[in-house]
Symmetry: C2
């Protein structure tokens, strides 16, 4: 263990959570039933039966559901459809680094709002809007936020939903971790509160496996057609085969028990992480006591520089993400994202002990 | 037959050419051997063993091979990496409608060069370059061109390759149909002549099935990294599962005999089309006597308007693509793209007979 590199880097599920035999079963049944459709080109919105499942689960019209090669790809297209160069995009600060890149590439100017224990600072958002800012998109990860682990409170979700209606901005609600709550109670989604203003994005990457690359967006009425057209002109269609596998998997009733297994596995790992942090870093850092998802965001008290921190961590056989990448502008030197799902409790304990030692050298 | 709608629209393979049992076999073997890799996130360039196969087949370094969700998607990303708004893009005129859209969306200004029986007019290209035009990209489909069916002659390929070196533009050589030659001899690819200036794009959509969505680009040195980075920031990675299925399919030696079957099937259909055209339209149209691919491009002699033509065709239970979509600017009213692979010889004969009747009403 001591000699082994420990990676607190990307948020990936553990390979032991994959069940290849189940996927072989689904592939067989899908190719027996739907080969003419799933092996051919098709409409860009994706395999209709999976879209129907999602439409039903989310209580929306079928045409609003678009499947794609993971939800990031759908965010990329939504950004390209919605943004002109110079348009304002609101985001939490810190936020998911890849999503920020997608908005910037589409010409968006990002304005970040600081996170508190119960999610983003809505007073600051309201002040910005009142001062005349007119964002086109507000990108929010309300459930077990990436990278911090925070959950946006119900009261703040209501305020955001109301502001979106009043100031007519779109909300991209990115919720890949929503179904992975290990304790506590679900909070209604922003989509539930303002379905007319919200692009609900999610995927099966964290629930079945990333390799299928099946994500989805539920777009507001009137916005689904332009995204579907953009998708068609970008890649004709995503893989119906993979989408049909997800459909079949759900149809067999395998998704719910699988999520239950994941929760049991990840809960132990989260607990190991929180315990190790309490034990080793109580005096040197603060963090979010998250109740789900993939990440705990840690903020160091010491005035460290990220380059130095990453280098010293490497010396201790510990790989960290650069905290600055999650921040919309300056900042992030003292921020560390700790993904815990793909590490065993022992690795987590060892990793945090190493991290604490590194931090104590500052 | 008389009552049945005949579609001469998109270039899709016939569903009877798919072999679902083979794909089940490949999926089983792939998930038995590589599940940890193919179900997880991975580097954006794609599943390494398939990339190695392609690197070997094309005699290039591994890092130059990038897999993606069909080759159109790789064109979209290449265009976004290479083009700034206002940059000049050369293309054949007519050309593949979706590719033209991709370049326009990335800010490209398209300049089209007319097609002759042996491919694009290179004298016109040379004159344009000499007059001071500086294209960033030249998009060419040299083999069984979409939508015309023409093949660019060897001599013209050499001239284009030399011009690319002299004037330092990139060539996107889109060759999805190259392996589908039904008679005659292969011509060396432009990539073979100038691998340093060419993005070679192709896919397995026309060789195995579109539903896997596996395409690839072989990028010039120095251009592969920026495309791979763009891909990672757009969708992390494409489906390794699907890429591994293609790898396994090739590894079993199934691809070559399958292509042989496709050629035997499509040759009959091409022959039926050329025979029907000779029989019904010799006096009213000209066309390319192609030797491969998916399309025969037909140019009507009558001065028809596309809207009128499409409407009258619909009245005869015949669906056509709008010829104008393939043209870079004005034009295309008299142009009809006839895809023949997904229609039986009887359907083709009936379709051309109906088309001739429609044309005779002008």
């Amino acid at each position: 263990m001591k000699d082994r590199l420990i990676r607190f880097t990307r948020g990936v599920p553990p390979t032991e959570s994959f069940d290849p035999d189940q996927l072989v079963e689904c592939t067989k049944s899908v190719l027996a039933q739907y080969s003419d459709v799933v092996l051919q080109y098709g409409p860009s919105r994706g395999f209709a039966p999976l879209r129907q499942q999602l439409a039903q689960q989310n209580n929306v019209e079928l045409q609003r559901v678009i499947l794609g090669q993971g939800s990031l790809n759908l965010q990329d297209m939504s950004a390209r459809v919605m943004l002109k160069p110079g348009d304002l995009v609101y985001a939490e600060n810190p936020s998911y680094d890849r999503a920020l890149t997608v908005f910037k590439r589409a010409g968006g100017l990002i304005k970040g709002f600081p996170l508190e224990q119960d999610g983003l600072n809505v007073d600051a958002v309201e002040a910005s809007l009142k001062s005349g800012d007119r964002p086109v998109i507000f990108y929010i990860i309300p459930d077990f936020q990436n990278p911090s682990g925070t959950v946006l409170s119900f009261e703040k979700r209501q305020r955001i939903a109301n502001l979106a209606r009043e100031y007519e901005f779109w909300i991209i609600e990115d919720s890949p971790y929503r179904n992975l709550r290990y304790r506590g109670q679900d909070v209604p989604s922003i989509f539930d509160l303002a379905p007319d203003r919200v692009f609900k994005m999610s995927s099966f990457s964290k629930l079945i496996c990333p390799g299928l690359r099946v994500g989805y967006v539920i777009a507001p009425e009137g916005m689904a057609d332009p995204i579907a057209r953009w998708a068609e002109d970008s890649y004709i269609n995503s893989s119906y085969l993979n989408q049909a596998i997800v459909y079949d998997y759900q149809q067999r009733g395998w998704l719910e028990p699988h999520i239950q297994c994941l929760k049991d596995l990840y809960r132990q790992r989260l607990d190991a992480l929180l315990k190790a942090l309490d034990q080793h870093m109580a005096s040197t850092a603060t963090w979010c006591r998250t109740e789900g998802g993939f990440f705990v965001g840690v903020t160091l008290k010491a005035n460290v520089k990220a380059d130095d921190l990453l280098k010293r961590a490497e010396g201790a056989n510990l790989q960290l993400s650069d905290g600055r990448n999650f921040f919309t502008h300056a900042g992030g030197d003292q921020f560390i994202r700790l993904p815990f799902c793909a590490l065993t409790p022992d690795e987590i304990e060892e990793g945090v002990a190493r991290l604490a030692q590194v931090v104590n050298t500052f």
